[in-house]
Amino acid sequence: MATPNHTVRFVLDEEIVTVRNIEPTTTLLQYLRQSLGRTGTKEGCAEGDCGACTVVVGELDGDRIDYQAVNACIRFLPTLDGKEVVTVESLAEGEALHPVQQAMVDKHGSQCGFCTPGFVMSLLDVYLKHEQITAAAITEHLSGNLCRCTGYRPIIDAGRGLAAYPDPPRWHRAEPHNPARIQRLRSIRPRRGGAKRRVLCPDLTGCARHNLCG
């Protein structure tokens, strides 16, 4: 078991979130929903098979960020240390939807809507990785997302139609190379292999400034 008083830091919506004294088996989904009140990410099966809890996680990979869709329900929060988390709430800019959201609306891709945030985030994963999105790429990237209402056809159509939308202000295809994002991740990069203890934030606000590795 990890030491409970270790600090976990991750980036969420351009802010550094600092978490202390967390049960090491706390999942990212629990933290998002219960601690942060970000209830857009849903629990469907709590075992990583239905995709309702899909979020995108970014990790530094040299001079770029590697973004991957993951199931938040089986991802322990401490494994997010030094990484970036993107949720369904991260995408829209005011009232302007991200293409993966707008395409789902335009193609009638949601019915009950409960699986939709997960599909949106898996579509973001495809969107960030592919300029031209083929049906095969959609099937592959969305194979872990279950929908019980639609026959998936409108969701496939939404994915295939993504190229028709203009670049969004946020979460466009250049984000993996965005210097500000890379810099932010570097600033919280965990020390590897060190036995050094972290110095905890002296106040309880979770500010990034004090959470330095000692």
Binding site: T41, L97, V105, P117, V120
Partner: protein, 778 residues
Amino acid sequence: MPATERFTTTGKPIRHDSAHLHVTGKAHYTDDIPLPANTLHIAFGTSRIAHGHIAALDLSAVVSAPGVVRVFTAADVPGDNNYSPAHDDPIFADDLVQYIGQPIFAVAATSYEAARRAAQRAGIDYSPLPAILDIRSALVAESYVLPSKTLRRGNPEQALAQAERRLQGSIEMGGQDHFYLEGQVAVAIPQDHGGVLVHSSTQHPSEIQHMVGRALGKQAHDVVIQCRRMGGGFGGKESQPALFACAAAIVATATGRPAKLRIDRDTDMIMTGKRHDFLAEYDVGFDANGRIQALDLMLASRCGYSADLSAPVNDRAMFHADNAYYLEHVNIVSHRCKTHTVSNTAFRGFGGPQGMMAIEAVIDDIARHLGKDPLTVRRLNYYGIDERNVTPYGMPIEDNILNLITDQLVSSSDYLARRQAIAKFNAQSPVVKRGIALTPLKFGISFTATQFNQAGALIHVYTDGTILLNHGGTEMGQGLFTKVAQVVASEFGLPLAKVRVSATDTSKVPNTSATAASSGSDLNGKAAQAAAVAIRERLIAFASDYYNVPADAVCFHDGNVTIGRQTISFTELVQQAYHARISLSSTGYYRTPKIHYDQTTLTGRPFLYFAYGAAVTEVAIDTLTGEHRMLRVDVLHDVGQSINPALDIGQIEGGFLQGAGWLTCEELWWDSKGELKTHAPSTYKIPAIGDWPSDARIRLLQDSPNRENTIFRSKAVGEPPFMLAYSVFYALRDAVGAAAGPAAATALQAPATPEAVLRALMACETSAEPGEAAEVAV
């Protein structure tokens, strides 16, 4: 001049009213409602055996577990320890347990995790009793949860004896878990008068209200149930949510603290009822062409330990055992088997799919027995227009469009040429075999319980010209709120944005029916229309008087009202009416006309009309692994005059694929102790994105308004498309037949998993005649 320019918003592919909320994660489901700080979380402790008495119940370790505030058993239920209108579903088992997963107690704790952990610490000793776990065992033991029923017409025994040909057979079809993505959940908030407000994910708020009231020993007016939306329902949130709402309400009122009960996926799949699995056995007489002369059909279903909705589910199975086919001499016996498994419940189609599946198997078996294309035999048995047009329950069919749909679909799908091409393909493909099937459906629309065919609505027009709409229907993704808003906007000639639909709430519209039986927009659309028209008529009378014009000179259109020669905005007229003290709020009410039905003789007109459709599916199977793929699907479905074609297509596609899941990949499996082992998506496979056929041509039947006076002449669309999936199963039979002969084809049972396909292939391996093709349809 018409009172409104109709169809300004109806008939258009308008997006779901919550689509923006869905894609941004802002849509609130019950689990997302912000909770007061002192909320308690609840978990159930459940039975570990299928049948037996509770010999000893030691909850001391549960009570002392961290975070636990209180533990509740049957003794803690202040009112009626029951959550079902059939009165045989205890909230907490007292002495007798009848299925694995049955709730015995509930823990209320300060966190969800603490409650779940504590519930595992109970010490329960049982005195086991013999358990009946499947249909065949129940039939042998004559273990029934309800009396068997018989529906008969003519003289089937004599007609069978005199029939030219005769065939006996059977088909088994499995159950199905709803797998709504949002599991069962309720949040109960105590009220200062001792009552309770419950946020429940339910298709049936009024029933929940009554069940909660009785469980608390209180009255209906002490309880309010609200539901803004469900994350899927499919029938699984018709009766089942009452258990969770009752338990949450008991905890909330006993502790004075809000209480939330959300179960995880595994618990949900173990604890809640599913589609009934069925066994159908038949004895059919027919002529040399395959026209049925007499049918003796036995339908047996697994109801589980209690009645729940099994009576109407099995009634509907009997009513639909004709599907599209005229049965002159017929005897249908329905056994409602009691087993020591979870109590099965409503699921899209409500028994109809199982009854229709039985007759489709009969027809398919006849065709393969005669070496004919099953489509030929199907069409030969279709109901007629002027003759051969009365159902076994005595209802004349007045809206038969079976041949219209079939002709169009045969042509648009190129069925005949493809059947020949498939025969050619199979002749030279030793391992992969293809098959094709066209199957029709006819589905009766109305609740068979006649009293449920009523609805209410409440409309407020505010002085800024906006409208708040409330009705008794619930939103589970089907787009009901969108359709009813379209109806109301149309009646006022307003843009859709002027109409907001609010959460279903038992304190706004009382005594509502479940949003079920595909009836949501038929009933609530009409009720809302009545409310809108009532207000509009008041506005017309006012405008006529105020502007001194005849009433027929007032017309609502494009957000404006033309009154004689002048046009003012809707808002302006509303404000003038307000100042003249005209009521701007109205209820609306609707009851379905024409229907009647005698429960004892099972005859009458239980349905206002029928919805129709047909599908052609082509599949390929791998005879070495039993796996299959859908190569192409063509659907032609009847929704009357569509209120919203995008939503209707969504229901058709989703229903088709859910039906395909039922008949191919979704397999519920219990072990020999009666424990469900397929209780999560890891072990229970619903269709995924790769299962949608790459070539799918889904169309609405055009120019075919409902002949009955339904809302804008539309037809119900929730359940009927589910049955389009028969085409998948019977195409699989066709492919199996191509690989291993007709006896192998008819050996295929549902769900046609790869294992089931292999079993069918191996059952008759020796009779294989590669490349065999059935007679071509004419």
